[in-house]
């Protein structure tokens, strides 16, 4: 019972030290604020419009968010030049579009201008574009 148990002594002491190290680890928790930021839709690009009978084809270029990335969709409006009243485009150009051109059919006779509004989700809308040149149906 002499030196041959020295390794055993070392092992036991080392185990104790390791156990002590584990016990010394602090568990820390804290509440506070994280932060995230939303994008902003840029203004729509002025569209062009061309007439064929009672059909008007509207074309526009893509709009980006102000910090980059294409807008997911677009909403088209048609304005009566005589009254200045605008309505949502219909037949072929209604709703939120994910393309860069559409053709509205069945447009009643008159003078019209079109606009493009960038859209994202159900509610996000960017600034409306300048009106297109006047088209006469």
């Amino acid at each position: 019972m002499r030196r041959r148990f020295l390794p055993l002594l070392v092992v036991v002491v080392a185990a104790g030290l390791l156990a002590g190290g584990a016990a010394a680890a602090w568990a820390l928790s804290r509440s506070g604020p994280g932060a995230a930021k939303a994008k902003t839709l840029a203004v729509g690009s002025q569209p062009t419009a061309s007439v064929q009978g009672h059909k008007v084809t509207v074309t526009w270029t893509a709009t980006s968010f102000t910090t980059g990335g294409a807008a997911p969709g677009y909403v088209i409006r048609r304005y009566n030049v005589a009254t200045g009243v605008g309505v949502g485009a219909t037949n072929g150009c209604s709703g939120t579009l994910t393309v860069l051109t559409c053709t509205e059919t069945g447009v009643v006779s008159g003078s019209w201008q079109y606009t493009v509004t960038p859209a994202a989700g159900t509610n996000w809308r960017g600034p409306e574009s300048p009106k297109s040149a006047v088209v006469v149906v």
Binding site: G20, A24, S29, G32, G34, K39, A120, G121, N123
Partner: protein, 160 residues
Amino acid sequence: MITIRVSKKFFLVVAVVIGLMATGAIYAAWNTSGSGNGYAKAATASALTIGDASASTTADLYPGSTGAVKLKVTNPNPFAVRITTVAKQASGTITSDKGAACNASTGVTFTDQTGLALDVAGGATSTFTLSGAVSMTNASDNSCQGAIFTIPVDVTGASN
């Protein structure tokens, strides 16, 4: 030279006692309530500080997308800390800097983050990016464009 003979049983008992004493000594170095009067510099763990990280955010959220959350953590302790979990506070509400209309329908949800290894050195402040930790639904209000969202979270970690 004098040779002292001890029994195997006695030797084991002594070894175990020495081991336990070593354990207690180290534990006392970290724990204010522990024994170990000889350790005048025994550390007391101070709470982490979660600061305002809004200045470091990048606009990346829009309806139907995911985005990153910034987290600014200050560790006042002399030892490093590893953050392993960031979870939304159970009773917390995500708010914005855009007012009531946006707050009523931010559309923003936070996904709890586990298995992290976010290290903050002793005495340091670090800002972390939790990529993809938030998402925004299509119901987000129009007034939320450009908003900075405050997300109440619980941060959990340990000395490292």
